[in-house]
């Protein structure tokens, strides 16, 4: 959920709205905000399933250090969504295990 009004920070600044495609579904986002924030705003908190135990994971450190929030972004797995800015039309997928590469390796 977005914090549209914050008692200290005031009204949410209007930024350019963009659309992300997450596992085939379209969600609205603001340009430049971290992908993870956009997903959180859309109520998507499970970002990947771990490779060995296939357990759900989400945002943990939010500063790009723990690498727990990695997802497949535009066909590339292991993208740290908490520090990767959202851009219009990005295709984002929940990463299962090591993830599938769009490009043939």
């Amino acid at each position: 959920m977005r914090i549209f009004y914050h008692p200290i920070l005031g009204k949410l600044e209007e930024k350019r709205k963009i659309t992300l495609e997450v596992d085939g579904k379209k969600i609205a986002a603001y340009e430049g905000e971290p992908i993870a924030a956009a997903l959180l705003a859309a109520g998507i908190r499970v970002l990947r399933m771990s490779p060995k135990r296939e357990e759900p994971r989400g945002v943990f450190c939010a500063i790009g250090r723990c690498t727990d929030c990695v997802m497949i972004v535009d066909g590339q797995p292991n993208v740290r969504t908490c520090v990767t800015p959202a851009r219009d039309g990005m295709k984002i997928q929940t990463q299962k295990g090591l993830g599938k590469w769009a490009k043939k390796l």
């Binding site: 771990s50 490779p51 060995k52 135990r53 357990e55 994971r57 943990f60 450190c61 790009g64 250090r65 723990c66 690498t67 727990d68 990695v70 292991n78 740290r80």
Partner: protein, 91 residues
């Protein structure tokens, strides 16, 4: 979830039990635990689990915490694609 399955290294999904086993077998520092279990060898390069491992080593061996150093830090300290790393000259 049983305590036995408790994950310490989130990236490589190494459990507390596996780490304790390595310590029982003689690994008494972060680097040795890493070599024995892969804890800290994942994407984040031991950033998150390192202090947890230090604590376990300390509790099991009694080694003072100040003597348990992190594993060696080497470039790149954040994941960077090979292409970007390679795309530079004059280094």
């Amino acid at each position: 979830m049983s305590k036995k399955d408790l994950i310490i290294c989130r990236c490589e999904e190494v459990t507390e039990e596996e780490i304790k086993k390595a310590i029982r077998e003689g690994a008494d520092n972060v680097d040795a635990v890493k070599r024995a279990t892969r804890a800290g060898m994942g994407l984040c390069q031991s950033h998150t689990c390192y202090t947890l491992i230090v604590k376990i080593i300390h509790e099991m061996t009694g080694k003072p915490i100040k003597e348990i150093l992190p594993a060696t830090h080497r470039s790149p300290i954040r994941p960077i694609t090979a292409e970007i790393l390679a795309k530079s000259k004059n280094m």
